[in-house]
Symmetry: C2
Subunit: 159 residues, 2 copies
DNA sequence: ACAACTCCGACAAAAGATGTCCGAGTTGGA
DNA sequence: TCCAACTCGGACATCTTTTGTCGGAGTTGT
């Protein structure tokens, strides 16, 4: 079970975007994070499709959050990048082989699938309760209140 | 984020093994579950390396559980197949780019990594509380007490 | 001692993720 | 009104991971 690497870049990008009210180009975000520019842009497109960020073209274009950072959960970002499909998907083993069950007795999911789904629900709930604003606040607290100000300063100064 | 397909086969195999006190060959399990025999054997080897099952060679050989099914958690099986590495692993973005933090201020994990790790802990806790015996009992309950008996009967009869 | 059965690690094929490129559209200025 | 520069967006290679397969080594019962 491996999570796409772009999830990390997307989360950092959202935290960065929460510190700027002007649109930020993808190339600027890539420079700040030290990532391949074109590939980061690909993931930002996924965020745009999910309705998390809004893209404006043109000379002063770029990406910006569609909502306040406190209303964007980490789960939303992860789902946008990684896709909403569950990590464990049942192949319905019980309907194959010499002891195959008839399809009419398989309306409820398999007990194994239920257990795996419950675990994934717990994982999703944990991510749903954390917002982008929370992440920004925690990162700021880790650096004693200097990190977010530095990001905001760099975003406007580099223009 | 995708979980290996072999996890499902391994869990079903463990439930099946819990119903037999004699060793069961990998080919027999593959026939029962309708899976590629050689590939299932590969995953059973992983379970053997993790100390969950014990393999005996020879004419009447096969796989059997090393412990009572009530003492084997689902998490153990998942970890044995999928590997214990966390799904989200931090690339330390904060140490790259123009606003890179010095390494000595990065002893604690990044706030984003902490949030993701907490979610994975919740996922692992959910799977740790379910045992192979629980799965067998639930599958049996779903089929009104006929499934496990049928498995046990098929395992001995097909010999 | 033999023969048959088992597991086990090394070898290909397929899929997904990663990374890159150029075109379409839009905006600001002349 | 036109132009030029900048932006995003989807289509195109490259690469790692997963999936799947095979024959060999070892062990057990006859």
């Amino acid at each position: 079970m491996k999570l796409s690497n772009g999830v990390e870049w997307a989360l950092h990008s959202c935290v960065t975007l929460s510190q700027s009210r002007e649109p930020v180009p993808a190339a600027r975000l890539a420079e700040l994070h030290g990532t391949p520019p074109a590939y980061l842009a690909k993931h930002l497109q996924a965020l745009s499709r999910a309705g998390i960020v809004h893209s404006t073209a043109g000379q002063v274009g770029g990406y910006e959050l569609t909502r306040p950072a406190a209303q964007i959960s980490v789960l939303e970002v992860v789902r946008a990048i990684d896709g909403g499909e569950p990590a464990y998907r049942c192949t319905e083993i019980r309907q194959r082989g010499p002891l195959a069950l008839p399809a009419e007795r398989c309306e409820r999911p398999c007990a194994i699938a239920r257990a795996m789904a419950a675990a994934e629900d717990a994982w999703a709930d944990a991510l749903r309760q954390v917002t982008i604003a929370d992440l920004a606040a925690r990162i700021d607290a880790d650096s004693e209140g200097t990190a977010m100000a530095a990001v905001s300063r760099w975003l406007t100064a580099a223009r």
